[in-house]
Symmetry: C2
Subunit: 112 residues, 2 copies
Amino acid sequence: MSRTDVLQGTLDLMVLKTLDAAGEMHGYGIAQHIQMISHDALALNQGTLYPALLRLEQRGWIQSKWGKSQNNRRARFYSLTRVGRRQLATETRNWERVAGIMQRLLDAPGQA
Amino acid sequence: MSRTDVLQGTLDLMVLKTLDAAGEMHGYGIAQHIQMISHDALALNQGTLYPALLRLEQRGWIQSKWGKSQNNRRARFYSLTRVGRRQLATETRNWERVAGIMQRLLDAPGQA
DNA sequence: TGCTTCATGTAGATTGTCAACAGGAAGGAT
DNA sequence: ATCCTTCCTGTTGACAATCTACATGAAGCA
């Protein structure tokens, strides 16, 4: 796992939250947003991003339509569905639970 | 992903940190420790745990030897190697980095 | 005309986890 | 003696998510 890899399982949450926070966006923009938020620590591969968007749409969490980007390019714009919003809440809680567990575990002092 | 699933990629760190915090342990004990720390929120499958221990040993992060458990059972005891300790430090930093990014992302308010 | 950026995708391999199966040995209960 | 439960270690086959690499096309500028 290279330094810029996405932690498995967090991508869905990142995408959902990005759409929640920034509203309708195209895939390329979502990737940029995540990269920006992470101060370039994370870079999404296209081979990860686009299949993920398909997956999320098939599960009914996001919906899409074709449109024009700010740069006048053909782009597919995604937005959260009602179900996606619920999913976001669920995954957020789940993340916080896991993060809490990890925190508790990592806080323990090491052996002398 | 069921409620008790381990977030992919975190298992190695959990195992390494467990051995760091609790010292030499056998696989079954590691699983119990993690389950305890998580207040039973996480339960490791054997089908996940044992291959993971093999993997970590093959990478030189842990070492093992046969012995007797407290219950007088035959058990394989694992401990951190020097390299494993370095790996633990690396993965800890990486986890904190990811957790920080997620925090920053999730803190953003949603759309009206 | 050619180059770069924006933007979307696909294919194949790899990896980690899961569910299910399997078994042996210790210790207590009947 | 026998049975049952707990402890403890594994293996197998399937699945899902990610990675790397490849591929395409249009906009806009030099």
